[in-house]
């Protein structure tokens, strides 16, 4: 085992996702899309009140898009082989910060901008601690999760603000354009932005390469640390936006309003086909998974099932997905253990592996 661990990683796996891996990722996304179609069709027919002439279906999305927004940012971090556990409390803190500034007399949209700027700054701090001091992101964000949660509680106090101006509640919360909820429009814009940034830009491709094989990424001239910090800024920023959206939707801020969004968001990322160890996955999958999971929960609730059974089915769905995906992911002769081992290797910061620097990004989605 010792010999194995010290072997240069580049010998054991290819440097970028192979074409067949990318094909499997595409198939996964297509399968998700089919599942989503079947799901919507089924609930529309079988559950009265679900479809609601189309507008009912659209308004249901308000109940889960906050999870989707966090998932978009979290996907960037996970793609790079890291994780951000502070996204949930970040969302709470952003909502509370905005609300408290507004209560102090600040114009609400200015308060929103300040809250988002603070979110970005905290993401920067997370990223810097992780890259400069070489601490595992799991530990750093676990710690910052507690700090952010405590700050949010202290800021919000016993009676957090509620009853925001109507224009804010309408635009960020419950408003609609025709039958389409504002929240869906905001999500669509954010999703398109993230999908382009990750799928079509050099930085996005670097992110995936970093997650796939960090030494190779370093050798190919990618500024690994800078890119990873960027992912954490993006994650915190998206979490911040989600905190604003949730506060708008409920017309109230709450010290822990975003805390419960973290695990569903990670679920969505993994269900969407992003490898939990990084390197592979498509944002389109994450977007579709947001709706698959969201409509499943809402559909079951509208059908009259208890939230317990909805949660249970979510858990079962995730396990089924993971079991099958991991079964499929025996890439390059490695396996689940291999993936864990790679993570361990990365943490040990092995020296440069064998092999010439790969061509950057030309093989990634």
């Amino acid at each position: 085992m010792a010999a194995l661990l010290s072997a240069p990683p580049a010998q054991r796996r290819s440097r970028t996702a192979t074409s067949s891996e990318r094909r499997r990722d595409r198939i996964w996304v297509m399968a998700l899309a089919v599942v989503l179609g079947v799901e919507i069709l089924y609930f529309s027919i079988a559950v009265s009140g679900f479809f609601g002439g189309g507008s009912g279906l659209l308004s249901l999305t308000e109940q889960f898009l906050d999870v989707g927004v966090i998932a978009l940012g979290e996907a960037a971090v996970i793609l790079a082989g890291e994780i951000d556990l502070s996204a949930g409390t970040m969302s709470s803190l952003s909502g509370i910060t905005m609300a408290v500034l507004w209560r102090q007399g600040m114009e609400i949209w200015v308060a929103v901008l300040v809250a988002l700027a603070i979110s970005g700054a905290i993401g920067l701090l997370n990223g810097l601690i992780i890259t400069v001091f070489k601490v595992d992101s799991l530990l750093v964000t676990l710690a910052s999760q507690f700090i952010l949660g405590a700050v949010a509680t202290a800021l919000g106090g016993g009676s957090p603000p509620y009853g925001f101006p109507g224009s804010f509640v309408s635009i960020a919360g419950t408003g609609t354009v025709g039958p389409v909820p504002d929240q869906l429009i905001v999500f669509a814009v954010l999703a398109a932005g993230v999908a382009i940034a990750i799928g079509r830009t050099r930085m996005g491709r670097s992110l995936a390469l970093i997650g796939y094989n960090r030494p190779a990424a370093r050798w190919s001239g990618i500024r690994v640390d800078r890119t990873v910090v960027g992912a954490f800024v993006a994650s915190a920023f998206m979490a911040g936006i989600s905190g604003i959206l949730v506060s708008g939707l409920y017309n109230a801020a709450r010290n822990d309003i975003g805390d419960s969004l973290l695990l569903p968001a990670i679920t969505v990322v993994v269900l969407g086909g992003v490898d939990i160890f990084g390197g592979r996955g498509r944002i389109s999958g994450v977007i579709i998974a947001t709706f698959v999971l969201g409509f499943l929960t809402e559909g079951m609730l509208v059908a009259g099932d208890s939230s317990l059974s909805a949660t249970m089915v979510t858990g079962i769905l995730l396990i089924v997905c993971l079991v099958f995906k991991i079964g499929l992911e025996r890439r390059g002769g490695s396996d689940v253990l291999g993936a864990v081992r790679r993570r361990a290797e990365r943490l040990r910061h092995l020296g440069p592996g064998a092999g010439a620097p790969p061509a950057v990004g030309d093989e990634l989605p």
Binding site: L4, Q11, S20, R24, I27, W28, A31, V34, V35, E39, Y42, F43, A46, V47, S48, G49, F50, G52, G56, L60, Q63, G158, P160, Y162, G163, V169, T174, V246, L249, Y250, N251, A252, R254, I257, S260, L296, E298, G299, M300, L301, V302, A303, G304, D305, S306, S307, L308, S309, T311, V313, I316, L317, V320, C321, F324, K325, G327, L328, G332, G333
Partner: protein, 367 residues
């Protein structure tokens, strides 16, 4: 498990063979995932048909406590289920698995889409569910809160457990009977910022001031809603204030901790314990004399009242300032405006005078 180094052609051939098999596997996965989903959908569908096959003439009422499985709410639901059939109510008990305001919002939203007639709830948060409840009221659904209120604009009626002043008077009167009018007493609470405990302490202080000015509250201990902490705190009080004649625990854990402390230090009967809490967890302290009296409302009957109010609200028979009769439970008044003495806000129905549990009657109650 060893490092694999292959020549490129051989490797590619092996890879493609493996991936062809995997291609089939992917398709199988997709099929199975869809199948699993379909199965859960069938389950969901059978649940749905069970709900819709109920007689349409019944009033559809949902009871949504803070979370599933808490004994106080289970007692409420037990009472509600007892009377629902006779009132023509189809009752649904649903709640989040954890005390989550967002979870409640999701449930309220689904109840609106299922065209419920009445939603009754104990709110996890006073403001977060307000928009969705206002939406429900706009859709013609009656919204009734109990135990923990939402902001008054987001509900039609609120059923308050008991008036702050009456429960405070009950506890103080019983204490004074035990200690006499010139005595030192202490209070055991949960945390310094617990809303309802603060309200009770305030009501007790103002009652003492007017009625028994020579009763003196020497200290307030905080047990953090934890039995072990409550026990230590109560022992500290007994050691530090030897002239204390009675301790008043006003939180479930504080009752157990205080009675245990009095028992352990051999002060049963010498130091009186008068508190607010359930009789069932404290039976042994009643039996051995280390607990004199507890005050609480009857939670099962409260569940029944929720159903009466739901039916009458659905029939538009309830009005601010008016009264109504809830079968054998008696006549109730609907407060027209806020009253800081009782704790009532607009359209509040105060459920009951507190019940007193003593050594004589504690065995009759199973909550």
């Amino acid at each position: 498990m060893g490092p694999k180094t292959k020549t490129s052609t051989k490797g590619d051939r092996q890879m493609s063979g493996r991936f062809m098999r995997r291609g089939a596997l992917v398709r199988l996965t997709a099929l199975l995932a869809t199948g699993g989903l379909a199965a859960s959908m069938v389950a969901a569908a059978s649940g749905a048909s069970a709900t819709t096959s109920r007689a349409p003439a019944k009033i559809k009422v949902a009871i949504v406590p803070k979370l599933l499985g808490l004994p106080v709410f289970e007692a409420n639901v037990k009472g509600a289920e007892e009377v629902a059939p006779s009132l023509g109510i189809a009752l649904k008990y649903t709640a989040p698995a954890t005390a989550s305001a967002e979870g409640q919002v999701q449930i309220f939203n689904s109840l609106i889409l299922q065209h419920y007639n009445v939603i009754t709830l104990s709110a996890d948060d006073p403001t977060v569910p307000a928009p969705v409840l206002e939406k429900a009221m706009k859709a013609g659904i009656k919204v009734i809160s109990f135990d923990s209120d939402v902001i008054p604009a987001a509900r039609d009626f609120f059923i308050q457990d008991t008036a702050y002043n009456t429960i405070a008077q009950g506890v103080i009167n019983a204490t004074e009977k035990f200690t006499g009018p010139n005595a030192q007493i202490a209070i055991m609470s949960s945390t310094p910022d617990a809303t309802i405990q603060l309200a009770w302490i305030g009501a007790m202080k103002s009652y003492i001031k007017t009625k028994f000015p020579h009763l003196k509250i020497v200290t307030i201990g905080y047990g953090q809603s934890n039995q072990a902490t409550s026990l230590t705190q109560a022992e500290d009080i007994i050691h530090s204030y030897p002239s204390v004649k009675a301790i008043l625990p006003i939180d479930g854990a504080a009752v157990v901790g205080t009675a245990q402390a009095v028992q352990d230090l051999g002060d049963a009967g010498k130091i009186g314990v008068f508190g607010i809490g359930d009789p069932l967890p404290n039976q042994k302290y009643f039996a051995n004399g280390s607990l004199q009296a507890l005050f609480l409302w009857n939670e099962v009957n409260q569940g029944k009242l929720i159903m009466y109010v739901a039916k009458l609200a659905y029939e538009n028979k309830l009005h601010a300032g008016g009264t109504f009769t809830a079968g054998p439970l008696g006549t109730f008044t609907i407060a027209a405006k806020a009253n800081p003495v009782t704790g009532a806000t607009r359209n509040t129905i105060i459920f009951s005078k507190p019940l007193e549990f003593t050594k004589a009657n504690y065995k009759q109650y199973d909550f």
